[in-house]
């Protein structure tokens, strides 16, 4: 059976060019980049070359990038790093963090932990499209606020938050602004200076790079406390020997991302809009997220009276890989916090389906999905006690 991957929001295949670029760094240039000998130097050069490329995709300077193991670690370093540093500096002040209710667990769980150890966190609600309210953000800022952490684009429903406005407010109030841009990089043009972003998390495996690599942008002058103590790499911010192949892969992925972003955006948006238009023809189907302010590759739906895990397994039976935010599919058996935050009832969140597109998807893929989906939805509805039509 032919298989169709529409779960690029979860992870992406590594680009062939990226693999090619990485290969020599396993067995040819294997020196430790921190070593003084020629083996070390050639690895070091590759790491620094990559640093430039990664900085470039968000219009940052190369000396503002810290390598990490991925988006989650970058979020942790940003939030804990600034919080611990601030606490030391400002004593009892600097205790208040503002975030949103729809953050990825990398941010959300970290914020919950910060609360446990004595910080105060405000979780801004979002509207039915998943957007925060700028006025509410501004009102939430107090003299104790030292950090705003709001995601660039949501990983479930694809909503793109008003980065420019948030950045402006953060700057006006002299508050550090961190954003989890893991889903946005490569799909939204990003300029950290224009947007007044101080800290930005990105991840390699969402942009056709290898898993287990990522970076945190740290604006020059912004000081963090490390959370990984060790030999003192990355200006003491993140020790552990460089993952040279990973860093090189991330660098190449960013380079390609920067070159291809315009084309990717047009191509993906076209496929996405085809998906949305045709899938919404299904009776009692709805689009989740914002109609316009959404990632070019994200289409998120809900269908009355059916459950998402069943739907995904049925799709899998037809070779289609997708995702859902239903309670049954989660480890905690709770509906996705994002879907509840946009005001869906648990039973509405139950029937959710996320399709996230990528470079390798074709028009034929979309046609196949919109061809088989209606029948699957109907089959499940025929089985459902909540569907009496």
């Amino acid at each position: 059976m032919e298989r169709i991957y529409m779960d690029y929001g979860a992870s992406t295949p590594v680009d062939k060019e990226v693999i090619e670029e990485m290969m020599p760094y396993f067995d040819k240039f294997y020196g430790n980049p921190s070593s003084i000998h020629s083996f070390g130097r050639e690895a070091f050069d590759a790491v620094e070359e990559s640093r430039k490329k990664i900085a470039d995709i968000i219009c940052a300077n190369e000396d503002e990038m810290v390598f990490t193991s991925g988006g989650t670690e970058s979020d942790n370093l940003a939030i804990k790093g600034i919080a611990f540093r601030n606490k030391k500096k400002r004593g009892s002040k600097g205790t208040h963090i503002i975030t949103s209710a729809i953050e990825h667990p990398g941010v959300l769980t970290t914020c919950k932990y910060m609360e446990k150890i004595g910080f105060n966190v405000k979780y801004l609600p979002v509207d039915k499209h998943g957007l925060i309210d700028i006025k509410e953000l501004e009102d939430a800022i107090s003299k104790d606020t030292f950090l705003i952490t709001i995601m660039f684009a949501n990983n479930e429903i694809g909503t793109i938050e008003p980065m420019e406005k948030i950045g402006k407010i953060a700057k006006e109030h002299d508050v550090i602004f961190h954003t989890d841009a893991v889903q946005a990089v490569g799909k939204v043009p990003i300029d950290v200076n224009k947007l007044n972003i101080d800290l930005l998390a990105l991840s390699s495996h969402k942009i056709y790079g290898p898993k287990g690599a990522g970076a945190l942008y740290v604006r020059n002058g912004v000081k963090l406390q490390t959370i990984v103590h060790g030999g003192g790499l990355e200006k003491g911010l993140r020790s552990s020997t460089y993952n040279t192949p990973g860093v090189v892969g991330l660098g190449k992925a960013c380079e390609l991302g920067k070159i291809r972003i315009k084309k990717d955006m047009v191509y993906l948006k076209n496929l996405r809009d085809m998906l949305i238009k045709d899938i919404l023809k299904i009776e009692e189907s709805y689009l989740n997220g914002h109609p316009e302010k959404r990632l070019v590759n994200n289409a998120h739906f809900r269908f009355t009276a059916i459950e998402g895990e069943s739907l995904n397994l049925m799709l899998d039976g037809k070779g289609i890989a997708a995702a859902t935010g239903s309670a049954c599919s989660s480890k905690k058996l709770q509906a996705s916090h994002v879907l509840l935050a946009i005001g869906l009832k648990p039973e509405e969140a139950h029937g959710s389906l996320r399709l996230t597109l990528g470079r390798m998807n074709t028009k034929e893929d979309v046609e196949y999905v919109v061809e088989v989906l209606p029948e699957i939805v109907q089959n499940l509805r025929n089985m459902s006690p909540l569907w009496n039509r």
Binding site: A305, I306, E307, E309, S310, L313, M314, G317, S326, A327, C328, S329, K331, L333, A335, P346, E347, H350, N382, M383, S384, P385, L386, W387
Partner: protein, 126 residues
């Protein structure tokens, strides 16, 4: 590690037995799963204390659908008192096991059947 669904679960999910409604059912039981939100309805036809027909409708995950399917097969042809003895473990075992996190789904099926039998007995008080 997460356990995967067994082949048996997948078989009952992709080819569920006894799906549907019984319009003139003798007993109907509906239960909602307070844990994940699944809902299941079981319809029974009873003759001389024997379940002569049984059907289900389920709004839920693959485990919920598969447990409904297997349960209806297990209960069909049984005396009511025997059917009442079917436990969640029986349901899960019959499917060759369920992932730990999905064990609550087997509760749902056994409970829905009990509700249907209760409904029948209430309506047919002698």
């Amino acid at each position: 590690m997460d356990e995967q669904y067994t082949e048996m679960v997948k078989d009952h999910f992709f080819n569920p037995r006894n799906v549907g409604e019984i319009k003139d059912a003798d007993g109907v039981g509906t239960v909602g799963n307070p844990i994940c939100g699944d809902v299941m309805t079981i319809y029974i036809k009873v003759k001389d204390e024997i379940i002569i027909d049984i059907k289900f409708k389920t709004f839920g995950c693959a485990a919920a659908i598969a447990t409904s399917s297997i349960l209806t097969g297990m209960a069909k042809g049984k005396m009511l008192d025997e059917a009442l003895k079917i436990t969640r473990d029986d349901v899960a075992n019959e499917l060759g096991g369920l992932p730990a996190i999905k064990l609550h789904c087997s509760n749902l099926a056994a409970d829905a059947l009990r509700e249907a039998i209760k409904d029948y007995r209430k309506k047919n008080k002698r």
